[in-house]
């Protein structure tokens, strides 16, 4: 299967500093790829580069389209749904309004919304509440649901477990797995919680200080003794 | 453990870098003295009217410098500095007209009164931010002409007050306009020196910290209320002193001269020169004095449109003001010749 997303010698910059130094990356269609690495490795920056939120160079190809010159909103319209670090929910709007915003670029609002309530029943209960009143875990679910309302071909998740209790993280990851199966969407995931991510993912990349230092199937990385010691803790 | 044999840069090397035999500090003094000498000699080659115009430039520069302290370095916007300018002007005028105080003796009381007014204003202003503070200061600017007309026993009401023009000291042999030019020049130099000392020191750093990160500043133990009020008071001290000088130089005060337009002009001059700079105040003074006249030359049918257009162009090309935008460039160029020295503030970037 051809990769749905391909990065070739992509560099990313925060202002004048080059933070990601020419990496190659691919996400297989229908699969889940995870980017692992410590804080500050450049994982989030890579995701932001894909969505045009930081200055970038190099080739970024999504479903046959070049993304390198496009604006963030154009990239979103093409079918890339990015759930940013910190979730990015519209805290001043209601849960339902947040979901409606997800379908700004698509129609079929009502049916998509029903499906989202199916995945996240808690959101149905709180549909008229302000998003800012939701707990961290609920906001994460809302952010993912909002992204799915875009009927994307690629779902980009930036640290969905951040700041959440382990039980909540488990729930969320179970839902992500279900989504991957039922929605036929490819997923690019950035996670610091390496063990959980490697269980779910098909492929993995390890990023250190802006370089890709290891890549392969998730299982092979999970079995690698060095990686086990550095990132999995055993 | 300090190994004495390890090479490390001795402090004297930095401060004592010598360029063509002189330290950087010495060069700065020479440059400053040459500039001051040129500026002081200038009026003797110009007509009386031009001398008057340049004197007004310097007066406006002092006023704008006051605004820079408050809005640029401390982040509190003021649309009302015309009111403080008026306060200084009328203080000087009333002292001279009613009490026969000689002109040069009106400056300290005018400055002091405006400082107190600024502190009194700054205290309630602590409650307001952003557009709310703009409204409160705007109210001050709008109230000023009305109050000046109302208390006419003191202010002369609508007619204003005519002032006797100052007489230059007999022995010097220069005429009034050039004498006043030099007086104002000395005032400007003192104002800039005082401002520089304050803004480059602890107070200035506190101001900037409060502007940029008020919560962090308070958390570090900076008494935000005290410094914000101090910023207001020093700011109005400068602008009020400028107002007093204006009354002396023009020889006339009336409520019409201190409308909202004056406050807006100060703000625009501030922005065009560079709001968080000291040198920018001079550019601001030049802008306020000359651009309206130039605009009239360009189009006498719609001169204010040209003035407005000039404002837009300055903001598009140099959004941080002339000194704010060009300053870092000049600093970088200077670094090539004299490492470790900067000519313009760059510690006060927004």
């Amino acid at each position: 299967m051809a990769p749905i997303l391909q990065l070739r010698t992509v560099k990313a910059f925060y202002g004048q500093s080059e933070v990601v130094h020419g990496i190659d990356l691919a996400v297989e269609e229908g699969g889940m790829t995870v980017l692992l690495g410590a804080n500050g490795a450049g994982k989030t920056t890579t995701l932001r580069a894909i969505c045009g939120m930081v200055r970038r160079e190099g080739e970024i190809i999504f479903a046959g389209e070049k993304l390198d010159r496009r604006t963030t909103e154009a990239i979103a319209s093409l079918g890339v749904a990015h759930v940013p670090e910190g979730r990015g929910t519209f805290i001043g709007l209601t849960v339902e309004e947040n979901l409606r915003l997800g379908s700004y670029t698509r129609g079929q609002q009502l049916e998509n919304m029903q499906r989202m309530y199916g995945y996240f029943p808690i959101l149905a209960q709180r549909r008229r509440q302000q998003a800012g009143a939701l707990s961290g875990g609920e906001q994460q679910m809302l952010a993912i649901a909002r992204a799915l309302m875009m009927a994307p071909r690629l779902l980009v998740l930036d640290e969905p477990s951040f700041g959440l209790a382990p039980r909540v993280v488990e729930d969320i990851f179970k839902i992500v797995e279900r989504i991957k199966r039922e929605e036929r969407v490819s997923v690019l995931l950035v996670e610091q919680n390496a063990s959980l991510a490697l269980e779910l993912a098909d492929h993995a990349y390890l990023i250190e200080t802006g370089y890709v230092v290891a890549s392969g199937s998730a299982k092979s990385l999970a079995d690698d003794p060095q990686i086990r010691r550095s990132y999995l803790g055993y | 453990m300090m190994d004495k044999s390890a090479t490390f840069i001795a402090p004297e090397t930095l401060a004592g870098d010598r360029y063509a035999g002189l330290t950087a500090g010495a060069w700065q003094w020479i440059a400053a003295l040459i500039a001051i000498a040129l500026v002081a000699a200038l009026p003797f080659g110009l007509s009386k009217y031009h001398v008057f115009e340049l004197t007004m430039v310097m007066i406006y520069a002092i006023a704008v410098l006051g605004l820079n302290i408050l809005t640029g370095y401390n982040g509190q916007i003021s649309l009302g500095h015309g009111g403080f300018f008026a306060a200084g002007a009328y203080t000087a005028a009333i002292l001279m007209h009613r009490y026969g105080v000689p002109y040069w003796a009106t400056l300290p009381p005018a400055a002091l009164i405006c400082f107190v007014l600024g502190v009194l204003f700054g205290l309630p202003a602590l409650r307001f931010e952003g557009p709310y503070l703009a409204l409160v200061t705007l109210a001050m600017a709008l109230a000023t002409p009305q109050l000046l007309k109302y208390f006419d026993t003191w202010t002369g009401g609508q007619q204003g007050i005519n002032l006797a023009k100052p007489v230059p000291p007999a022995g010097l042999g220069i005429d009034r306009d050039r004498w006043l030019y030099l007086v104002v020049l000395v005032a400007l130099l003192i104002a800039m020196r005082v401002a520089a000392n304050m803004l480059h020191g602890r107070t200035g750093r506190a101001f900037v910290a409060i502007r940029d990160h008020p919560i962090a500043a308070a958390a570090m133990g900076i008494n935000t209320a005290r410094y914000k009020t101090l910023a207001f008071g020093t700011s109005t001290l400068f602008t009020g002193a400028a107002g007093a000088l204006a009354a002396i130089v023009i020889g006339y005060v009336s409520p019409e001269s201190y409308s909202i337009f004056l406050s807006v002009s100060f703000l625009v001059g501030s922005a065009v020169g560079g709001i968080a700079t000291i040198g920018g105040a001079i550019v601001g003074g030049l802008f306020i004095q000359f651009v309206p006249n130039l605009a009239n030359d360009v189009s006498d049918a719609a001169p204010w449109a040209i003035y407005g257009l000039a404002m837009l162009l300055f903001m598009y090309l140099m959004p941080r003001g002339v000194v704010g935008s060009l300053g870092p460039w000049i600093n970088r160029a200077l670094q090539r010749i004299m490492p470790h020295q900067t000519a313009f503030d760059d510690g006060a970037k927004e």
Partner: protein, 289 residues
């Protein structure tokens, strides 16, 4: 007592004008975090456009409609061309740009149309109502303002463009990630504000008479009203505008020293703000570390 009620009602009518301009100010502030000091002059210019159309023979409502459209497009263009370059610059630069626009519009209007004061027809008849407490003119102005408020509320609450605009104003980055063209939303916001301003100008002109300096005082009171109501609240804008209108009228009528009217009116407004520094309906700006 009768006079007192009369003053309240005519205060409400002028307050409705302030409320309309305040609405425009709030809309732009919510979208771009900027106070558009040129709002009044833009409204004045739109009113002149309507006047020109009517002088050319067009009936009032057609001229009004065309003016609304032209103002909407003009507002969008102004945001796109004149404001966007300073949207990411320091706030003061944008403030100076709006002040510059104020001067440009005022001066150009004076140049094209001269400073001669003109009559401007009102769509509402001027008959006393409710036992001479108000006129139909006053009622008409208040009604138009309330209709605008309702339409805006419906637009922002129920349409997807309105929702997208709210999202773009609150969190531009997240909005882009949803595919919302944030720049275009800002332009639409300015267009709407310009159209609202045009409506306000057309309502004020019959009363204050049309001249380039017509909206100067209106802008100042509208600004006060918008802040009194809370600069982020449209309902606050209307409430604030009405309160300011009534206050101004009562102060003008009952204050002995009439030349201090502006001073006293503002002093009262600021007194209220001292107790509610974010306005009556405004939300406190929450600062997170």
């Amino acid at each position: 007592m009768h006079q007192f009620l009369q003053q309240i009602f005519s205060g409400l009518a002028s307050g409705a004008i302030y409320a309309s301009v305040a609405l425009a100010l709030v809309m732009i502030y919510r979208a771009t975090d900027l106070v558009n000091f040129a709002q009044g002059e833009m409204a004045m210019f739109s009113t002149y456009i309507a006047w020109t159309l009517m002088n050319a023979g067009l009936p009032f409502w057609l001229a009004f409609l065309i003016t609304l459209v032209v103002s909407f497009v003009g507002g969008m263009l102004i945001e796109r061309v004149l404001i966007r370059p300073v949207e990411n610059a320091p706030v003061l630069a944008a403030v100076v740009v709006t002040i510059g626009l104020l001067l440009i519009f005022n001066s150009v209007a004076g140049w094209i149309y001269t400073y001669t004061v003109q009559d401007f027809p009102s769509p509402f008849p001027d008959r006393p109502v409710f036992g001479a407490l108000m006129t139909t003119q006053d009622l008409g102005v208040i009604a138009v303002t309330l209709v605008m408020l309702v339409l805006l509320f419906a637009f922002f609450r129920f349409t997807s463009t309105g929702l997208a605009m709210r999202a773009a104003a609150q969190n531009p980055e997240s909005a882009r990630l949803c595919g919302i063209p944030v720049g275009r939303m800002l332009a639409i916001g300015w267009g709407l504000a310009a159209a609202i301003g045009a409506t306000a100008g057309i309502m004020v002109a019959p009363v204050l008479f049309l001249d380039p300096n017509m909206m100067g005082g209106v802008l100042i009171y509208a600004f006060a009203g918008a802040l009194l109501g809370g600069i982020t609240s449209p309902v606050g804008a209307v409430a604030g505008g009405l309160i300011v209108g009534v206050t101004e009228n009562l102060v003008g009528t009952y204050l002995i020293a009439s030349q201090l009217k502006l001073t006293v009116a503002f002093a009262l407004i600021i007194l209220v703000l001292v107790f509610r520094p974010n306005g009556l309906f405004g939300t406190a700006i929450v600062r997170r570390v």
